[in-house]
């Protein structure tokens, strides 16, 4: 694919920067895959004859939303096993790499992209250490072409503090919790010892894959929801000097000081969920990001629940917007799924905001993109490449409108 050379000049739109700020009547120039300028309207030096001018007056410009810890590209149809590349065999699989299975031709990808999600981080699952993820742009011919950050992060499940027993239907303290934590510590201790020496004559691929986590080049995403699990994970991270992200974090609001003290970000897995406990505030899933934000903790948001974190990723803008009525402003809600997610993925130097010099991965919506009534994309740019905001579902709609003689509204 060849990047376009002709600059796109987007004028007059409201720029939602992604860092919590907004620029009305803004100007944004896309050139050579990057944002050449993003800011207030000004006289610029583009050649009006060669540049492609997009009048965005009354419209809204957003950085591409980032869907983290997703199944997109790894799963096509949940119930059809042959279309799933998610769970690998093994308990400690740091050497597993998600980008290998990423299917750029998934029919699901364009349907997610059409709503403004332009980057995704497919992750492997299963075991305790599930493997490494990459960040993919939602366009491209093949995974090598689509990857924008290779093997950037490692993913781990923290042992359950509490466990549900399907046989008895009871939810109780996991009696093996301490033992399971010790197993993780033992693995890391051995990996650390292994990594102290370069050039092993007999290589252990699992331990070889641990270098980047142990030297903090990779962040370790630790999936845990219980307050005690978070406390355990943070303690573990301190022991081994790791950079971690708490994923899930349903009870993170109960350990705010700890997270703040160690500057650990939290990646929430959805806002569309029920409170964990009967007596929890009914709106806790919506107020949780606000509690984290107020405590000064970097809070990202993705959709990774209900076995649907591929097709359902298209609802990411709305799951962010849903927080707003509970007390977060719209730009902060947007920041969760743009800049904060970029920081958590370690790609904020290139993505996550409409900032001069960053990758031109952005979209224009007719209205507020966080509200489904007005999330209507007219332009998508991914690394400067202009992509049609349409997908096969729109085509299917048109086909049947024609069959029934229905006049399309838009």
């Amino acid at each position: 694919m060849h990047a376009q050379q002709v600059p796109y000049v987007i004028t007059g739109g409201t720029l939602h920067i992604g860092d919590g700020t907004i620029i009305e009547n803004g100007l944004l120039i896309v050139h050579n895959q990057i944002i050449e300028y993003a800011g207030p309207m000004k006289e610029t030096s583009y050649d009006a004859n060669t540049a492609s001018i997009i009048d965005a007056t009354g419209k809204h410009v957003y950085p591409g939303l980032i869907g983290l810890t997703s199944e997109l590209g790894l799963k096509e149809i949940s119930a059809v096993r042959a279309t799933n590349d998610i769970y690998e065999v093994g308990v400690f699989n740091p050497n597993i790499r998600s980008l290998i299975a990423y299917n750029t031709d998934s029919k699901v990808i364009p349907t997610v992209r059409s709503n403004g999600v332009l980057l995704a981080q497919p992750v492997p699952n299963g075991g305790i250490i599930s493997g490494q993820s990459s960040v993919m742009k939602l366009s491209g011919w093949n995974w090598e072409d689509a990857v924008v950050a290779t093997d950037g992060n490692m993913h781990m499940h923290w042992p359950d503090v509490y466990r549900y027993n399907w046989g008895t239907g009871t939810y109780s303290i996991n009696p093996d919790y301490t033992k399971e934590v010790e197993e993780i510590k033992a693995f890391f201790a051995e990996a650390k010892a292994y990594c102290a020496i370069q050039n092993h004559t007999e290589k252990n691929l699992r331990f070889e894959a641990m270098h980047k986590v142990l030297n903090t080049e990779q962040k370790l995403y630790i999936q845990t929801n219980a307050a005690k699990g978070i406390i355990g994970a943070v303690d573990f991270a301190q022991t081994f000097g790791l950079q971690i992200v708490i994923v899930g974090g349903r009870q993170s609001y109960q350990v705010l000081d700890l997270l703040k003290q160690h500057q650990i970000p939290v990646l929430l897995e959805c806002t569309h969920e029920l409170p964990a406990f009967d007596g929890d505030p009914i709106d806790l899933p919506y107020t949780l990001p606000i509690l984290l934000q107020k405590a000064g903790i970097v809070c990202g948001l993705t959709i990774n629940n209900e076995d649907a974190s591929y097709w359902n990723l298209r609802n990411l803008p709305f799951q962010a917007g849903a927080v707003v009525p509970y007390g977060m402003n719209k730009e902060d809600a947007l920041r969760m799924v743009t800049l904060n997610n970029a920081k958590i993925a370690g790609i904020d130097n290139r993505f996550g905001t409409l900032t001069t010099g960053k990758s031109a991965t952005l979209f224009i919506s007719e209205g507020d993109a966080l509200d489904m009534r007005t999330n209507q994309l007219s332009y998508i740019f991914i690394e400067g490449e202009r992509i049609k905001p349409e997908n096969w579902q729109d085509e299917q709609e048109r086909k049947y409108q024609l069959k029934y003689g229905i006049t399309p509204r838009n």
Binding site: S78, A79, D278, A308, W311, P325, L370, D371, Y404, R409
Partner: protein
């Protein structure tokens, strides 16, 4: 002694001649009269008669006289019970004593029919032919435990299956079975769990209920002549057991109500074995008029020391821990006839302590004694034989150290059927002041402490010397030191005095102790700690009410009102509601005595109606074990305590259509409810609503995603699905026809009744469906049989056959944007609802998910994004359109004068992602008020804290605690096909 109890409450006045036995004796026959006279006792004859210093005479296991001037027969053994009490021993109506334990074999793969090939019920959980007395064999270990706890007589039955057979009354003594059985067939037993049955059906509680109902109808048919068509031992047993006492095992307060409803349908006055949480719905349970058998296995104290772990426990668990001991007191206050059972206690020695705890928690001693003795006797129809100590009753009694309900009281003896069992030896009384002469020295000897564990003191002038000692059958031994002399005394009792020899240092001496005065115990300090427990809330959950919201006149002023009528969206408009109805919609309405809510800047809509919901269901949403389960009814298993009812109110939902799952082509009968949080299941049901039934097509019904073992149940293809319908509708037609002729003996078939109702236009279908081929199939089939498919639900490929649906007259209730989760939804598009709507099909959006139901307004708004539908039409997809599909648009779905006051006040445009439901009103009652949330949370937190402090105190005081653990309610979706009724 053995008597045959021929019918309920018949006392056999003729006593058998003594000791005629068919069994030979190895040795010389040993007949005894068993005549005993118990004298000087306090005899508690029953709850209203107590004699002091009285005598009771028994002979041949029967009480022959009792009173203060009973004559003592010359041949009676006289037992002096000075200072002791005699009580009737306890009767336990829920034991499985002496019966073989049922194995729980595992079944691999589907089992569609009974694997017992005898002429019995088709269902393995239906074993009414099982007769406990035929399998009864005494077990002395178990019998001993019963006796130790004060029980003398038990009703034993096999706790296994749904129709469990008959129970027998047996004594818990150590005699052979032939002597232990008092009555062979006393009761018939029912439950909602299938026990050891390995058969698939039923897998849900509604299936269990349907199975009981169908079997009872089958029994009627069998009695009326069905026996000519087949031999069925099970049905025969039901018919022959009709005169026995029917007992239903209910595992929850709501199951008590369900059991009673089954009883009402068949005119069976069930005695109901409860679970101990009946206090949570005591008024409704009182209204059933049923007698209860209740356990006293109160929840153990959880270890709540860790505040994070303690969060696991919902408020309901905490409150249950606190209130369970008060259950009996609540029942008594509500005038419910009940008795206790020791069943459920891991340690039967805790039985009496647990009953005493019930007394501490407000049950009167009289009521407690009745619940242990005369009430179970009455319930079991043996009040003229047992449960009291009148002349002529069986000699089943206890000898105790004092009042049964005093904590210190000890059970000394348990006489069962005239046979003596010593539980604990009554200690001899030695306490008192004695003049002690040791050699030449004179002291005082004070024996105090308790009779069982005396404490010795030596008194010397004004000093007190400590002493060690013991008194046994072998005599007395006493040691003390005085003036560097070690006294080691040994002796014997003679009359009230002691005497003996001993050593004073190295020298042998004589000694004696002469009784001088009785020991006066200091009166025990009356306990002043009154027990304070919280209130019952409705439902018994977080956010429960002490009093459910009242209907009131409400005037919402100056709001934007989405009428869903021709008037459209009205700005600056008032809505007045009263008597549960919408009274007026307009400008500047004034109303007296109305709660005025300022709606400025806010929006008012009709309440959201969820056409497809699985909340508020007990134990299983699918009875997918057969291709048709038309006989099951969601309405039988509505769980009014589900927290999701409240959570959905917070999303503006006022009505939900509770559906059977989609595991089989013909699912169960559905139930429409209004989310009247705090009311009972019956009160939540939408009144005067026509019945619906769930059908399902596609991958679920052909078990495509159930694993490789599920390839046995028909159908496995869409082709087979058509034949399931063709078959059942054909049979239903024939059934309806056969019933028209009164000469025919037609077996009531609950499954075909429901299908026949569809054919008569009295019941409507909502059909889970995805792909176009199967949608066409069902519409064609419906046309052939002359009915209309009311609603296709999910209907994700509806857009491909919208014209055909329109022509057939079917409506659609869809997801806004779900797809790709299985192969049959790979062609699903979010423009589906819009296309259907544009093609003229009445289209709704539903949840099928407890979470999504909280934001159906947002799901509706997606049609604006994907299809460009207008906001007004979009809102109708979750209000008026589902109301039309459910045939309730005359009552709900729009803001119109005369309709039900089911309305929502929104903070913003209801289709905006930024809108929140602020108030949700049903029938003019405010069931959800967002402004009250923090107050409710705080109240819950205070209540939690109060109980946690009590738990903490309990732990500090030495209570054995258990790790925190809870059993949360299941959240169901269409595809939940687990077995929810396995085990006891």
């Amino acid at each position: 002694m053995k008597q045959f109890l021929c019918a309920v409450a018949v006392f056999c006045a003729t006593l058998p001649l003594s000791a005629q036995s068919t069994w030979p004796e190895n040795g010389v026959f040993d007949e005894r009269s068993g005549a005993y006279a118990f004298t000087h006792a306090t005899i508690v004859v029953d709850t209203s008669t107590t004699y002091t210093d009285a005598t009771m005479v028994i002979r041949d296991g029967i009480i022959v006289s009792v009173g203060t001037n009973a004559t003592i027969p010359a041949d009676a053994v006289v037992v002096d019970l000075q200072g002791k009490y005699v009580y009737p021993s306890f009767i336990d109506a829920d034991a499985d004593y002496g019966l073989p334990k049922k194995e729980n074999p595992s079944q691999k793969g589907p089992q569609l029919l009974n694997n017992n090939e005898q002429a019995v019920s088709w269902n393995q959980a239906i074993t009414p032919e099982f007769q406990a007395y035929t399998q009864f064999s005494p077990d002395d270990e178990q019998a001993k435990q019963f006796r130790q706890s004060g029980i003398g007589l038990v009703l034993t039955h096999r706790h296994d299956g749904i129709m469990r057979g008959t129970g027998a009354l047996v004594f818990v003594h150590d005699l052979p079975a032939r002597d232990a059985i008092l009555s062979e067939r006393v009761s018939t037993h029912y439950a909602l769990r299938k026990g050891s049955s390995t058969q698939d059906y039923p897998s849900s509680q509604m299936g269990s209920i349907a199975l009981i109902r169908q079997t009872l109808y089958d029994a009627d048919w069998y009695a009326k002549g069905g026996s000519a068509e087949e031999t069925n031992i099970s049905l025969e047993a039901i018919v022959s057991g009709r005169q026995l006492i029917p007992i239903f095992d209910a595992k929850d307060k709501l199951e008590v109500l369900r059991a009673d409803q089954i009883g009402n349908e068949f005119n069976i006055p069930f005695v109901i074995k409860g679970s101990g949480n009946e206090y949570q719905r005591v008024q409704e349970i009182a209204a059933t008029g049923a007698s209860l058998i209740i356990p006293v296995n109160y929840p153990k104290t959880p270890d709540i020391t860790d505040p994070y772990d303690a969060q696991l426990l919902p408020l309901a668990d905490l409150k249950e821990w606190e209130m369970a001991p008060a259950n009996a007191a609540y029942l008594a206050d509500a005038h419910i006839r009940f008795c206790f059972t020791s069943n459920g206690l891991e340690d039967k020695s805790q039985y009496l302590p647990a009953v005493r705890k019930a007394v501490q928690y407000g049950l009167s001693e009289k009521e407690a004694l009745a619940a242990l003795t005369i009430t179970p006797a009455g319930i079991l129809g043996i009040q003229n034989q047992a449960g009291s100590l009148q002349k002529g009753r069986i000699a089943n009694f206890l000898i105790t150290s004092g009042n049964l309900f005093n904590k210190e009281t000890v059970l000394y003896e348990n006489w069962v059927d005239g046979h003596r069992y010593i539980l604990k030896n009554a200690p001899e009384e030695h306490r008192g002041l004695y003049a002690l002469q040791v050699g030449n020295s004179t002291y005082g000897l004070l024996i105090k402490g308790s009779a069982a564990a005396p404490v010795f003191q030596i008194l010397k002038n004004t000093d007190t010397l400590s002493a060690n000692g013991s008194i046994t059958d072998q005599g007395i031994s006493l040691q003390f030191t005085d003036n560097a002399m070690l006294y080691r005394l040994s002796g014997w009792k003679s009359d009230k005095n002691f005497a003996g020899r001993g050593q004073m240092n190295e020298n042998w001496i004589e000694w004696s102790a002469t009784f001088a005065n009785v020991y006066m115990e200091k009166p025990a300090q009356a306990t002043t700690d009154s027990i304070h427990i919280g209130e019952v809330v409705y439902p018994f959950s977080s956010f429960g009410w002490t009093t459910p919201p009242q209907q009131q006149n409400i005037l919402i002023t100056n709001a934007t009102v989405w009428t869903n009528e021709k008037a459209g969206v009205l700005k600056n408009t008032d809505v007045l509601i009263g008597n549960g109805k919408i009274l007026q919609v307009g400008k500047n309405i004034s109303a007296k005595n109305a709660l005025v809510i300022d709606g400025t800047g806010k929006h008012v809509t009709a309440g959201i109606i969820d056409e497809h919901s699985h909340i508020a269901v007990t134990d299983g949403v699918n009875e997918g074990t057969q291709s048709s389960s038309a006989e099951v009814r969601m309405g039988d298993v509505i769980d009014c305590d589900d927290i999701n009812i409240y959570r959905q109110l917070s999303g503006g939902v006022t009505t939900a259509h509770i559906l059977h799952g989609s595991a089989n082509p013909v699912g169960g009968q559905t139930q429409l409810i209004k989310l009247r949080w705090g009311l009972t299941p019956e009160e939540m049901k939408f009144e005067g609503w026509p019945g619906f039934i769930k059908f399902a097509l596609g991958e679920n019904v052909k078990q495509s995603n159930w694993g490789d073992e599920s390839v046995i149940r028909f159908p496995q293809t869409r082709m087979g699905v058509e034949q399931v319908y063709a078959d059942i509708f054909t049979r239903a037609q024939e059934y309806a026809l056969a019933k028209k002729d009164p000469k025919n003996l037609v077996r009531t078939d609950l499954e075909l009744e429901a299908i026949a109702e569809i054919l008569e236009g009295k019941r409507f279908i909502t059909c889970h469906s995805y792909v176009q081929s199967e949608i066409n199939m069902l519409m064609n089939l419906a046309d052939t049989f002359g009915f209309t498919v009311n609603t296709f639900t999910h209907i994700l490929e509806g857009y491909k056959v919208a014209d055909k649906m329109k022509m057939h007259g079917a409506g659609a209730s869809s997801f806004s944007d779900w797809w790709a989760y299985k192969f049959e939804v790979y062609d699903a598009i979010p423009q589906n609802a819009g296309l259907l709507h544009d093609a003229g099909v009445i289209t709704a959006l539903n949840s099928d998910d407890a979470e999504m139901a909280r934001r159906l307004n947002q799901e509706a708004a997606k049609t604006i994004k994907y299809s460009g539908i207008s906001e007004e039409e979009a809102l109708k997809m979750v209000t008026l359109n589902p109301a039309k599909l459910l045939h309730i648009d005359d009552r709900t779905g729009s803001i119109k004068e005369g309709k039900d006051a089911d309305i929502v006040l929104w903070s913003d445009n209801p289709l905006s992602i930024y809108a929140m439901a602020e108030k949700t009103i049903i029938d003019g009652r405010i069931y959800f008020d967002r402004s009250q949330q923090s107050a409710l949370l705080e109240a819950d937190a205070i209540e939690r804290d109060r109980i946690i402090k009590k738990m903490m105190a309990d732990k500090v005081n030495g209570a054995v605690t258990i790790p925190v653990s809870t059993t949360p309610k299941r959240e169901y979706d269409c595809e939940d096909v687990g077995d929810f009724v396995k085990g006891e």
